[in-house]
């Protein structure tokens, strides 16, 4: 056996460098493979244990939480409640379990409101979970900071405001967005003050998230949007237009109309759409005047507007476009002239009241 090994090594040393290279490479690969296989087994075992812990503790935490929330008002029950608080406190020292506890709390808190929701928030304080979040705000790792802000948002911890606001110009956009969501969730429209000075773009994703948060509140007093309507930040304009639309802000009609001349075409189109939704009639004349200087997309938006807001004197103008090249404009014209009726789900029917036009079902031409 040893002789074989010695012979092989000798043969190796005497052979071409490429052979040596390949032989050593093969050996290296084999060693790496074995190491990785050991690592893989270990990894899977750890993951399995983790899975088991999660399953067991998820159930336990859920029942403990319910028991805590609905304990009776007598002395014994209160002792039991304190026991549960201590139980959570102890478990929260383990990172995995802490994540589970927070997830359990939130899973319930997100669905219900009222005293039970407040009780869960109270529990968040009592178990000291809040401390782990606030201390993470100082972390050097941006994802830890973002996660902490998120947690504080979900548990609605207003006290953290001052610490969080310090991070408002954090280099990472994920952190900045979490802060924006925190401000809006906890302080509603007041939380939007950052729009006054926002220089970074607010992506559509962020805008939707903020609007969703606002959407959950009722009876909000909508603030003055005038500065935002004149912002240099295009995304702020876009966001404000959405706000104007959702909250029916007729007060800023003039500013919206002013945006018809904004350099960015998407803003112009969005402005036309908002005007349509709000039914601002002054806009019709304005857009009719410079109709021919506008891009096709804006013209399409204009005709969509006319579907809702055309007046009898507009009819001749509209009629001129019945054979327009663009499909959407043709359809809008036909709808406005009541030649066809189109439902919300895009099914239509031809109205036989039209006498001087017959419509080809292909909508290529109405002749």
């Amino acid at each position: 056996m040893l002789e074989l090994l010695q012979n092989s090594v000798e043969a190796l040393n005497n052979s071409h460098p490429i052979i040596q290279f390949c032989a050593y490479l093969s050996l290296l690969f084999i060693v790496i493979i074995i190491t990785l296989l050991v690592y893989l087994k270990n990894l899977r075992d750890r993951l399995r244990i983790k899975g088991r812990i999660e399953a067991t503790y998820k159930k336990k935490y859920e029942s403990e939480l319910i028991e805590y929330l609905y304990a009776d008002d007598d002395k014994d029950s209160r002792l039991q409640q304190q026991k549960i608080v201590d139980y959570f406190k102890k478990n929260a020292e383990n990172r995995l379990k802490r994540k589970l506890i927070i997830a359990t709390f939130l899973k319930l808190k997100n669905e219900i409101s009222g005293e039970t929701s407040d009780a869960i928030q109270n529990l968040y304080y009592q178990t000291g979970l809040i401390n782990s979040a606030t201390s993470k705000l100082k972390s050097k790792k941006w994802d830890a900071v973002a996660r902490a802000i998120r947690e504080l948002t979900l548990f609605e911890i207003k006290e953290a405001h001052d610490e969080i606001i310090l991070l408002i110009n954090h280099p990472k956009k994920e952190v900045r967005n979490e802060i924006q969501k925190y401000l809006v969730k906890l302080f509603r429209f007041d939380g939007l003050k950052f729009l006054d000075i926002l220089e970074n773009p607010l992506s559509e994703w962020d805008q939707i998230q903020l609007l969703e948060i606002l959407n959950k509140f009722n009876n909000l007093e909508v603030p003055d949007m005038n500065n935002w309507m004149r912002s240099n930040n295009t995304s702020v304009l876009s966001f404000t237009l959405k706000l104007a639309r959702i909250y029916n802000q007729f007060g800023v009609s003039d500013e919206i109309i002013a945006l018809f001349n904004h350099p960015n075409v998407d803003i112009r189109i969005e402005a036309i759409n908002v005007v349509t939704h709000l039914g601002i009639h002054e806009a019709v004349a304005i857009l009719k005047e410079d109709y021919f200087t506008r891009s096709l997309e804006e013209q399409i938006a204009f005709f969509k507007m006319m579907e809702e807001m055309a007046m009898p004197d507009d009819i001749p103008f509209i009629r001129e476009h019945i054979e327009h090249d663009n499909f959407f404009i043709r359809i809008s014209v036909m709808k406005t002239l009541n030649l066809i009726t189109v439902d919300d789900d895009n099914t239509f029917k031809v109205n036989t009241t039209a006498t001087d036009f017959t419509i080809d079902k292909d909508f290529t031409i109405a002749s």
């Binding site: 319910i66 609905y70 319930l108 039970t116």
Partner: protein, 122 residues
């Protein structure tokens, strides 16, 4: 003799289900829990409950289909309360068109739910 009313609850959030079960059983109702629309329909067909509580957004057979099935296929007049996440007005409208009795948008107050249930079961 146990004359407690039967309620079928369809929601895939396990802890919310536990909470509602706790509260409703405390009020004397018997609760049957389903975690998706298909299970809900089975429970309804087997148990003929006095009331149905269902989330709209569930795997596979949605809450809307449950309502449709109960009203149209089973032709039952059982009161149905739907839960919806806030902002799903269209879904809620569809639910009512299909025959839902009442709705509560999430997050909702469990106490309010109990009051409504009691009223509807009067």
């Amino acid at each position: 003799m146990n004359l407690s009313k039967k309620i079928v609850l369809a929601d895939d959030n396990s802890i919310l289900a536990k909470l509602l079960q706790f509260k409703l059983e405390k009020e004397g109702y018997q609760l049957l829990i389903a975690t998706n629309g298909k299970e809900a329909v089975n429970l309804i067909e087997d148990n003929r409950p006095d009331m149905i509580l269902t989330d709209i957004m569930m795997p596979f057979i949605s809450g809307l289909e449950v309502i449709s099935h109960v009203r149209n296929k089973l032709e039952m007049k059982t009161p149905i309360v739907v839960f919806s996440a806030a902002g799903q007005e269209e879904m809620v409208l569809s639910a009512f068109n299909l025959g839902a009795t009442d709705f509560m948008s999430k997050p909702f107050s469990p106490n309010e739910l109990i009051i409504r249930i009691k009223r509807l079961l009067q």
